[in-house]
Symmetry: C2
DNA sequence: CTGAAAGCGCTAACAA
DNA sequence: TTGTTAGCGCTTTCAG
């Protein structure tokens, strides 16, 4: 007696619901999973009532074991800082990914990983997910190593922002055209007929940074504009202003300053203004990303609108489709970017 | 024949390993789980060899089903915006929570939830985590409703930033002393002998905002300082500057402007400067949060250093302990805050 | 020290 | 339409 029906204050299972509704577990399962067919309206009502009364919530583990699906996607963000969500680009990407996944009843398992420690991450070691997303950093070789490590798990892989690696078996790349975007910025800057430009960039090697530098240097090289790179720790406002100040002290004032992102551009503008220089009259400055808050810069930045949120959404869509069809129908999603005209050039 | 031993290119299971090593699954399980006792050295070696040769990795789901543990914690962030990770406070909290959880081999399942839609979230509908964290918003009644909804699930609950609700059974509150911090800010502002103050706040009702408003108003009320509230959409720089501008046009220039956070304070400073007003000479301005990048403000903000990352870490610690001991040893963690002296007051 | 066996909660054939 | 049943991969008694 008192074996199944009288469950002893532990959480109700499908058996308890079945007993209460006077049906079999199979029927409850059909109702829970919204199967349209195979259950009479009357039975369905009884089951739904039992579910409500008992506060039954299906246990995902049982379902997972049976279906061999986890209903979750993992995201590893490789970042040297424990504050791996500091950049608005990343947070917008995560929001887009998470929202679109949960719309399809997938969860997002979030991991920040220090460079070189990917293999130790519990996402790789133990967590079971249906697909893994990777936001790699470091130089291209390190990034490829990360991708291969994850690809070796034999799970669908989505890589953000990096150039496709052709021989990864079950992988998909989702990125925006940072190269084209920064080339557009550079062309805009050419109107100032610059002779010398400085580009302030992070000292972390993100693929996006490489592409933005490449886009700018190619355009400038074609027009004999010298390009100096100023690397710094972009997470610290002081570090940016210090590095910029040091550059100006040593090299004099360039004709244009290219910010690798808007925060950097704003910091550069601060430095210039503190020296009594006017933007854009004396020095033109450009940003990158155009997230809402950077609209506050004075003067308004000429920048490029990044599409981080859409990258997340696109990735989620690709994963859902891959999981349903068994294959990534498209393995390289490249989102085009557009210039935002401000008054800083 | 060919039933268990010859597994057909799918991942090896504990049965395959057992067959190969010529032992039972129970023995393999002991070896896999590092049980020190109950397995002879010789047997252990054979099993380990089989594991290596077959590249066996235990399936987490099977283990979970048996142990009734999910190895994951859920976080629901209630936010009217789909960009639920826009605020640095939230992202720091998430980073701290995620990092400390994964250090203990727990995953973090992240959900952005629209107000009033919590019940529809799969985190709530389906049992898939060992504990739930809630970052509530809305007015106190709505927040309490959210808490009760989650608490009704019978899972350990951690609530961020809100005032404790005494009768929630298995819950723990983790928050910082926004009230005390903003009172400190207000006392600092009193040095300017203000008669009238304006506080620019978000139009979303976060508990932190309530506390910050309360801390400021109490101090000001004691000293007969009028306090006007200026609500606006803080995610948009333009909305902040518009609301502030409108206020100044209608009410004239207050003696001090209290920003509910640093972004808002910076926007307010922009507005004041564009009118030729000096900060702090003509108007004192204060911020809140002191995340790295806001050090860039001119003049440097007088603000309060928030401890979002530590809130996340504290919550993770509380959850781990709760899961091990069966009870939250402390149900209210209140982190003290400190003033950061800048030059904006 | 080792193995047989009983499930953990759920789904999906298949049978009725 | 509904129920019976056989597992999914694993851990854990308990008996040998």
């Amino acid at each position: 007696m008192a074996k199944q029906g009288e469950q002893k204050r532990s959480r109700p299972t499908i058996h308890g619901v079945a007993a209460r509704a006077g049906v079999s577990t199979a029927t409850v399962s059909k109702v829970v999973n919204g199967k349209k067919t195979g259950v009479s309206a009357e039975t369905r009502r009884r089951v739904e009532a039992a579910i409500r009364e008992m506060g039954y919530r299906p246990n995902r583990i049982g379902r997972n074991l049976r279906t061999q699906r986890h209903g979750a996607v993992g995201l590893a963000i490789v970042d040297p800082s424990p504050r791996f969500l500091a950049d608005p680009f990343t947070t917008n990407l995560v929001a887009g990914l998470s929202n679109h996944l949960s719309k399809n009843d997938f969860g997002l398992l979030l991991y920040g990983v220090l460079p070189g420690r990917l293999a130790e991450c519990s996402l790789i070691r133990i967590s079971q997910v249906d697909a893994i997303c990777l936001n790699p950093s470091g130089d291209r070789a390190e990034r490829i190593e990360s991708m291969r490590l994850v690809a070796g798990l034999g799970q669908p892989l989505v890589v953000f922002q990096d150039q496709p690696v052709p021989d990864l078996p079950d992988a998909c790349f989702v990125r925006q055209d940072d190269h084209g975007g920064s080339a557009a910025i550079a062309r805009e800057l050419l109107r100032r007929n610059p002779r010398r430009a400085a580009m302030v960039i992070t000292d972390i090697q993100w693929p996006a940074v490489e592409n933005r530098v490449a886009g700018v240097s190619e355009v400038f090289a074609d027009h004999n504009v010298t390009l100096d790179l100023i690397p710094c720790d972009e997470t610290s406002a002081v570090a940016i202003t210090d590095a910029t100040t040091r550059y100006l002290d040593r090299n004099g004032i360039p004709d244009v300053i290219v910010g690798q992102n808007d925060q950097i551009a704003i910091a550069a503008i601060q430095v210039l203004r503190s020296r009594g220089l006017r933007v854009p009259e004396d020095v033109a400055v450009s940003g990158f990303n155009a997230f809402p808050f950077t609209g506050l810069a004075v003067p308004p930045l000429t920048t490029v609108k990044s599409r981080a949120y859409e990258i997340g959404v696109t990735a989620a869509g690709a994963i859902i489709e891959r999981l349903e069809s068994g294959i990534f129908s498209e393995t390289d999603h490249l989102l085009p970017l557009e210039l935002v005209h401000g008054q800083s050039i």
